[in-house]
Amino acid sequence: MRYAAVTLIAFFLMPALAAAEDYAFPAASTEQSRLTIGSTTDIGVIRPVIEAFQSANPGIAITYREETTRQLFVQSQQACAGERQADDLIISSAMDLQVKLVNDGCAVEIPPTALAALPDHARWRNELFGLTFEPAVIVYNRKLIATAEAPTDHIALADLLRQPDRFNGKIGTYDIEQSGVGYLFATFDAAQSSTWGRLLEGMGRNAVQLFCCTSDVLDRVADGRLAIGYNVLGSYALAEAGRHPDMAIVVPTDYALVLSRAAFIPAGAANQADALRFLEFTQSPTGRAVLDRDARLFSPVNGAERLFEAAGMAENARQSLRPIPLGTSLLVGLDAMKRRQFLKLWRESLATGQD
């Protein structure tokens, strides 16, 4: 009983503990300054970018703090209110939460000439910038689904899920109650098309498995525990697909939402100069090459081309990409009342399917 209780506590604490971790990158030469980055990106994904930055700027030591999106948001709000020391740079995949922080006046403005190459959807107010170009994709296991019957768009996926029992318990996606990115994708899915209702119903009927993180879904699709992963991040999927030949990636041809990890420099940042230097580095040719090659994160500047090269898809499919624009329209999903209603609908839809 006692053991069970401890296990239970450990179970609740685990994600927080596992996620909240600091990584030190000492300066390559004599340390001249220190840059603290608060981020939600896996250390494994971001490491090549940091190392490339440090080899270009050997005097800068970096502390990389990896947090969950919620936690990073709460910390940033506290820093904004002056209750704790702000990080020098905040990078989060929860674009909506980042927009909220900037909307609440927590960011500093950078010179308009900096990061000028970024397209409109990836910058807001000269304060918030999208650094990556990551589509929401469908992954499947080639052993369980033949390439011919693989879904190419949302409608095809909904149709596929109508086959009774074949995919029961074999489809996985974000738990949008836990994952900020999942919630963001879901709200946009709901707004994008009427297919969303059918898809939700199909997932509910097939006892969809919900996970906190993209990597959990990818791991299971790779080893065959799941047949289909829906709305997983293309960046992680591409990296994973390189290691697991069984895993295939589909960028939906009707529409594919594209996420940009959003970054801003907090108003209380101690080292704003290096933070800006880091931001600019990520969009420099060197930085973009690292994003493309090692991290598979791509850049909003030329992410569409690079993505289709990497995914081996037709050039004309590029028009289905729907980058989620940074801006106040993301705030609506954060409205507390709206969120409650959306989650209620989500739960009810999944439950209806499962009955």
Binding site: V102, N103, D104, G105, D120, W124, R125, A191, P325, G327, T328, S329, L330, L331, V332, G333, D335, A336, M337, K338, Q341
Partner: protein
Amino acid sequence: MTPVSETYHTRRPSRRKPSLALRIGVAVTLVVALAATAALFSAWRYGWQAANEAFDRLLTGASLQIVEHIGVVDDSIVVDIPASAFELLALAREDRVFYRVIGPDGATLTGYDDLTAPEVPGDGGTEIYETEFSGETVRAAVTGRQLVERNVSGLVTVVVAHTMRERTVLAHDIAIKAAILIGISSLAIIALALAGVLYGLSPLTRVERALLSRDPNDLSPFDIETPREIETVVDAINRFTRRLDRRIGAVQAFVADASHQLRTPITAIRAQAEIAVEEKDPARLARLNKRILDRSIGVSRLADQLLSHAMVTHRGDAEPREQLDLRRIAMEAEEESRRFGDVGQPAPILDLPDEEVAITGDRFSLREAVKNLINNAQTHGKPPVSIHVTSGPHDARVSVTDKGPGMPPELRAKAGERFQVRGGGSRRGAGLGLAIIAEVAQSHGGRLEFTDMPGGGFRATIILPAKT
């Protein structure tokens, strides 16, 4: 004006004096600048007004959309904020957005707790206002909806606000574009106005050139086309040259007359003097001497009168007037005529009032005139000669009376013209006396009057206007 000073003036075309074109140019520029300033101010206000109108529509639209999505589910108020409301607000791309929905009890249903809201202008109405939020001035729309449900009723308030960056950019953009237009058109107006002014003033240049190119000795009137505005100036110049012309003519005539009048008696004196040199007979020599003396006195008087006339003529134009007592003038004239007159003449009788007779005039001219009156009476009339000074309500008079028959009527009408006494000047008068008197009377605004006295006698009176 001598030719030397003439050239002096033409060589300096009055650079430092105010130019008409410059003055008009400055005036036009000032007026246009004033108008442009007013226009800029209006443009600035218009820019803001237009920007506010445009962006206030977004606010109003968004708040109305939110209001529409207020509902009651299971006895509680539910606000399902539509994405379209925020997409509308996101049209102001660079602006931060704040909102708040307040329930009938004043509690925040959703949104920013600390966003203040004024009174709602009633169900369905929207009010726009500005307030401070999150360190910036924000513009906000507040609107409300009256809920009337079984268990939930009251006013739900919706506030939607955004920062003013985009509207500032738009307002400035409109204002700057308008300002550029205003600037360009102002410059064009000034340039056109200056061209118009130069065109309008070109007749002046023509007049100027005509004046400068004129021979200094040419006193004929100008015959050039002049605009109405400077017609009077050219007329004045023409009147002046005409007067100058007349004056010069008068002087030339006078000199000619005088030389003629003087030459004859001087020639006669000379001839008699030559005879006298040869004459041995003492009796005839004495007669000759007496004649030479008489002639000499006549010439001397003629010269005196010529100079006096010239002086009087000159003074009539040039001398300033002073306050005078006519009695004193009469006394001085009497005294002088006694001193320089012929010996043996009985002295004139002076009849003066007790009170001062005040007039305005030139002492010298008046004295000369009275002297000439006395002289005429003594020369042509019969003694006794008397001098009267009287003063009336409107005039002052000085008159000289003698017992003679007076001037012949045809001479009275011609009084004032020179050399009316035939014979080129008698021993006692040169014929200039009346001319001098008439001229003085005229230049003092008065006149000369001749009266035959009842019971014989003649009176000549200078009537001057009383001093006002």
